[in-house]
């Protein structure tokens, strides 16, 4: 097959490209330039967006003896990922930009262009298993990235390759070291690539300016403080609320109302939810018949929880088997079919609109 390997300059995509070459594919490397004003050198451990990262990717491609190009997708990335990220926070939601990037950039803009240019597949260094069109968790549970790929549809998965899904991150680094790749010991990237200093609140403040509003305690309805912008908060957040309530019990963000700019906080007992209403779902295969039982993961690094998936007013209604905290509108609810042997299979996902307590119990 003619395979386009997306190469960030990190160790994962380097090894993924190498394995695609080993598998006998005709591989071309592409580095995606996603930032309009690229730094010459990396700052911190966030590897993907600097000229130095492009150089690292090119070095690996040269060692593999494959063609290598840089594709400038900065405009698309700004529109579809960065501006969306800002707008979501502005609307009081908590987006996942990595998931959006996979949906709109890597497996849409890049895949479309690759197919038009005659490539059969796009390979990336994501840690997830993909076999027979079925997307499953990586064997390395700690590094599993199936959550941020949960948004892919069957047609996108049909043209995707994730060569690393059946190995641990340690094994990936071993392979890189065996091959003498300079990136073998390169630190993992963290957080959000377009916020290289890791200061999301500072980034949003620069973009949105100061927009002060009240912090209200749910139990009393009283204003207990003021904030500079609702975008500095995420549902479930406990630290950095900047308020002191008389009883000294920990408070959590319960809700964000962007029009009145009200952040509502409350005690632990009020923070739990067991029902999630979503927007329109996407499915990795034929849409399953509703209702069905599954596991749902409600943010990037949380444990999955049992649930029943029903039809909802705008998408799905997910009834959780156990109460959860910190379920923020804007995050994706990724649904899994448990499979201890082959890895949990991703069924689909939908964006959380509302997370609340319900009056009835889940029937299993």
């Amino acid at each position: 097959m003619r395979v386009l390997a997306a190469m960030s300059g990190g160790v994962d995509s380097a090894v993924a490209a190498a394995l695609a070459v080993d598998a006998g594919h005709d591989v071309t490397g592409v580095h995606l330039a996603l930032s309009p004003d690229r730094q010459t050198l990396r700052s911190g451990a966030r590897g993907c967006c600097s000229v130095e990262d492009a150089h690292d990717a090119r070095r690996v491609a040269d060692e593999l003896g494959i063609p290598f190009y840089v594709w400038d997708l900065a405009d698309r990335f700004r529109e579809d990922v960065v501006d969306d990220f800002v707008a979501e926070y502005e609307a009081g939601r908590t987006p996942n930009p990595c998931l959006r990037c996979n949906e709109k950039i890597k497996f849409s803009a890049v895949l479309d262009r690759a197919q038009a240019l005659g490539f059969d597949a796009v390979a990336t260094g994501h840690h997830a298993r993909l076999d027979g069109g079925e997307l499953r968790r990586s064997v390395d549970a700690a590094k599993d990235q199936s959550y941020v790929l949960g948004v892919l549809r069957a047609d996108q998965l049909a043209a995707a390759m994730f060569p690393l899904g059946s190995m641990t991150k340690d094994r990936v680094r071993e392979i890189a070291a065996e091959r003498g790749f300079a990136v073998a010991a390169k630190p993992d990237s963290h957080d959000i690539c377009f916020i290289p200093d890791g200061d999301t609140r500072g980034f949003l403040t620069r973009r949105l300016g100061s927009r002060p509003g009240p912090v209200v305690d749910a139990a009393t309805g009283q204003q207990v403080g003021e904030h500079d912008g609702t975008y500095g908060f995420t549902v479930g957040q406990r630290k950095g609320l900047g308020v002191a309530v008389g009883d000294q019990r920990p408070r959590y963000v319960l809700g964000i109302e962007p029009v009145s700019r009200t952040v509502t906080i409350g005690t632990r007992d009020l923070a739990g939810i067991d029902e999630v209403l979503t927007g329109a779902p996407t499915w990795t295969a034929e849409p399953p018949a509703l209702p069905f039982s599954a596991q749902v993961q409600l943010r990037a690094h949380s444990a999955p929880v049992g649930c029943e998936v029903r039809e909802g007013p705008d998408g799905l209604r997910i009834l959780l088997a156990e109460e959860q905290r910190g379920v923020a509108p804007g995050q994706s609810a990724v649904l899994y079919e448990p499979d201890a042997e082959r890895g949990d299979r991703v069924v689909g996902q939908a964006v959380v609109r509302t997370a609340r307590e319900r009056g009835e119990t889940v029937r299993h």
Binding site: A33, V51, V70
Partner: protein, 396 residues
Amino acid sequence: MTYLDHAATTPVLPEVLAAMTEQLGRVGNASSLHASGRAARRAAEQSRERLAEALGARPSEVLFTGGGTESDNLAVKGLFWARRQADSRRRRIVVSPAEHHAVLDSVEWLAKHDGADVTWLRVEPTGRVTPAALADALGDGTDVAVASVMWANNEIGTVSDIAALAAVAHEVGVPLHTDAVQAVGQVPVDFAASGADALTMTGHKLGGPMGAGALLLRRDAECTPLLHGGGQERDVRSGTLDVAAIVGLAVATVAAVGAREERAARLADLRGRLVAGVVEQVPDVQLNGAPLDDRIASGAGRLPGNAHLSFPGAEGDALLMLLDARGIECSTGSACSAGVARPSHVLLATGADTERARSSLRFSLGHTSTDDDVDAVLDVIGPVVARARRAGLGSR
């Protein structure tokens, strides 16, 4: 492999390889006084004389440098500094926006860090700078430190009439620098006859080694050094002479200039067949730069080996990749250090829109080019353009 990127670099001539290999086997610093040093100095000075003769310069006007970028930096910065030193009113630099980045970025650096004012020259749609445009920009010249206009453009191959431009500059007492990196060996270049005060040339565009070039600098031109040290090159450029590279540079220049007329005619024929063949398969292709048969007073108005084409609806990047996959090597023009394709500043300077600039490809022929190379392009260009168009211009 079909190599059609001679404007980027061209294969080293066998006689250059032989001369350099011989010289590399010898010990001797050209500044040393003993026999080995004298032998090295003799080889360097013979090379200086041969190169000067080939380009219509005096040997004392040849300053060996590390290549075109260094020569451009030295000329632009050195002439600016020396002229402003002599008269503090001279802060203005008059320059074409279609210059190579070695000139552009030097000028912009001077503007940002050293108080220079920049006047951008009007550029014809062909990319040419006319004497009238230069005269307008210079005014009475009293506040101008230096003017710089390239002899032939590296992307679109357009040749400007340097003799006419130098005459205009000299009327108001302004020195003219010209970047002739692409011109030497392609069109007649005679430094004395051109009247230019400083001329940049380099070895690897004409069959010589990389990292070896020269600045031809009139003896009466004051130029402040960039590199300080042993003062080897007229006290304007320091650094131990790289004798083997200098020998290679001279051998290549003499060979390229000597064979120029015959080769130019041959390349112009091949280039004409290439363009005609592309037009046949892609009727809406656009030729950038001057017409193929354009003439100016000094001869050809366009480099004989240059074909710069825009393919509407296709992205230059995609075309390059598809051709590369089929063993054909060409260029989209100038790439920035990040490897991210930007619309060509040269095309934008000629008034082309962003889409035309982004959809362009440069084929540049050179001394090893053959009919087979042209055939190889014509065999695939139709389907390649069709496929690149399906991939679109990278936008929605």
